[in-house]
């Protein structure tokens, strides 16, 4: 279908509209709004600490400042990675049965269930996380209910690392669910049935048939949740108090309170490299056309 189209369009006199032209608005937007800011950050990261001027000086002090052990940045880095990894693995376990249900079990209810999972995406994470604060806080819904039932209340759940993890799992739920669902939708049902007819048990069918075919979707979901959770800030702020300093907090701190843009920039450059490397590594193994449902011709 696609290879024949350009020549076909030429015959129809519509050739003035080359497909590459259609990409231009997006590319201009991303050029100015994404790549240019990254360049600015890169330039700032070589500027004198605490200065606000570009291209006046060149120094690597900001980078050496980052790796100095007295700065607790390495600790934030480890925390953020750990929290993101835990979020990503737990979310995979939590969403897989639901994705399976959306593809195989729910039938004509699948549309409604999908919409119910999409909707929370449109509510600011602040509102949703604050709802959890109201639920868990002293005198909140949970403790109030426990005390009303005559049990010992006073449960302290908020402002701990575990709560930040729960918050991250909560806010990133759809980002894992939908890619995994798209991945599982690529598994042809006949193939599983055929494997079952040939005597494979459920574990074997899952490992040998389902998982390899659904893998691109799963990889995209894991990458997306890892990256977003790695850069998340509000969960640690609202649910975690100051119990854990995440890496996004360090970036924000450098830019705002500390007024040290070059340091914040250097840190952002490192984050970008780390995330960019992960994204590149995964996307070299993934074909977006297949996940999003392009027909094979």
């Amino acid at each position: 279908m696609t290879t024949a189209l350009p020549s076909l369009l030429e015959n129809r006199g519509k050739a003035s509209l080359s497909p590459a032209l259609l990409a231009i608005p997006s590319l201009v937007l991303l050029g100015v709004g994404f790549f240019l800011p990254l360049c600015v950050i890169l330039l700032y990261s070589f500027a004198t600490p605490r200065s606000f001027e570009l291209l006046r000086s060149f120094t690597l002090v900001n980078y050496s400042e980052l790796i100095r052990a007295e700065n607790s940045i390495w600790r934030s880095f480890i925390w953020s990675n750990g929290l993101a990894l835990a979020t990503c693995c737990l979310l995979f376990l939590f969403t897989y049965p639901i994705a399976h249900g959306l593809c195989r079990v729910f039938g004509h209810w699948a549309g409604l269930v999908t919409n119910l999972f999409i909707f929370p995406l449109f509510i600011s994470e602040n509102v949703r996380l604050h709802g959890w604060v109201l639920f868990f806080i002293k005198g909140g819904v949970l403790n109030g209910t426990i005390e009303a039932l005559g049990w010992q209340g006073g449960l302290e759940v908020l402002y701990q690392p575990g709560m930040i993890l729960a918050g991250m799992i909560y806010t990133h739920f759809p980002f894992m669910l939908f890619p995994v669902t798209l991945g599982l939708a690529m598994v042809p049902r006949d193939l599983c049935d055929a494997a079952a007819d040939l005597g494979a048990n459920r574990w074997q069918i899952w490992r040998e048939v389902e998982l390899p075919i659904a893998l691109p979707g799963i990889l995209v979901g894991m990458l997306l949740t890892f990256v977003l959770a790695f850069g998340a800030l509000t969960e640690a702020r609202i649910l975690g108090g100051q119990s854990v300093i995440v890496i996004a907090h360090d970036v924000e701190h450098a830019f705002t309170y500390a007024q040290n843009w070059p340091l914040g920039s250097a840190l952002s450059v490192l984050l970008t490299l780390w995330i960019g490397g992960l994204v590149m590594a995964i996307f070299s193994k993934v074909d977006l056309d297949r996940i999003l449902g392009k027909k094979e011709i």
Partner: protein, 276 residues
């Protein structure tokens, strides 16, 4: 034929999904509950209910400005994003051209980037070029993240598009405009509508990008955050509920619109059949 084992796992799947949905919506109910509590600091069980915080919020001029800002940004983002994403999704999914694979990868990059860092990077950019941050810069910042999402949403529809229908229309003597109006647009409409819905609602609820790029023009999520961190007032759950209700209204209206359009198309089809 259903095996008992399969039946059991199906029930478990339903139960787990129900539990997940319940957990996801639980904090929203807590917010609604807190908005009707009379006390300044929320305690449960609620001793006395009152709508005074609602009245106070709805009368507040500050809140009016903030809601207007959020609406203005979300509408502008939707308009621009739909245009960019419609073209982008055709380049992404429909046509084969040399740079397509690279374009696909470049396009998803902003989605795979932490928004707080993106917001700060944009703030730095605006600062470097001497652009004062306001609702206008917030629109631009939202677009960087939302237009790629809308493009992906539309691309899914474009992948399912049968190009031979266009060819058939040309063969039957249609002009370019006719083909676009009668074939391309109606077939791609569900994708365009979802793209618009995502653009509006993601902008409406966005916090990390607005925080650094909207300057003095605060949006709803920003205002809520500032009050959560310092100076809590029961107007927080009220405005939170208003923001949720706003999103729900738009979401339901969009669903209703899809149903209406489908009905209308079916109606037209049956009338055409009748005239034959």
């Amino acid at each position: 034929m259903k095996l008992p084992g399969r039946r059991k796992s199906e029930i478990l799947t339903w139960v787990w999904t129900g539990f997940a949905l319940l957990t996801i919506y639980l904090p929203l109910f807590c917010t609604v509950l807190a908005s009707f509590s009379r006390a300044r600091y929320f305690t449960f069980p609620i001793r006395s209910f009152s709508t005074r915080w609602w009245e106070q919020t709805l009368e507040s001029l500050e809140i009016h400005t903030i809601i207007t800002n959020s609406l203005l940004i979300a509408f502008s983002v939707t308009l621009l994003s739909v245009g960019i994403a419609f073209c982008g999704s055709l380049a992404f999914a429909r046509f084969n051209w040399r740079g397509r694979k690279l374009f696909q990868k470049v396009l998803v990059l902003p989605i795979f980037f932490p928004q707080p860092v993106l917001g700060l990077a944009l703030l730095l950019l605006f600062n470097t070029f001497g652009i004062e941050t306001s609702w206008r810069t917030a629109i631009f910042a939202h677009l960087v993240w939302i237009a790629p999402v809308a493009t992906l949403v539309m691309a899914i529809q474009v992948y399912g598009f049968d190009a031979s229908l266009e060819e058939a229309a040309y063969d039957l003597g249609c002009s370019n405009l006719q083909v676009f109006r009668e074939i391309t647009l109606p077939l791609l409409w569900p994708g365009i509508q979802s793209g618009a819905l995502f653009s509006f609602l993601l902008s409406w609820g966005n916090f990390p990008l607005s925080l650094y790029t909207s300057g003095a023009d605060s949006t709803i999520p920003e205002w809520l955050y500032s009050k959560m961190v310092a100076g809590y007032t029961p107007m927080v759950p009220v405005l939170g509920t208003i923001s949720t209700l706003g999103a729900a209204t738009i979401f339901l209206m969009s669903g209703l619109l899809s149903v209406l359009i489908r009905r209308l198309q079916l109606h037209q089809l049956s009338r055409q059949d009748a005239t034959k």
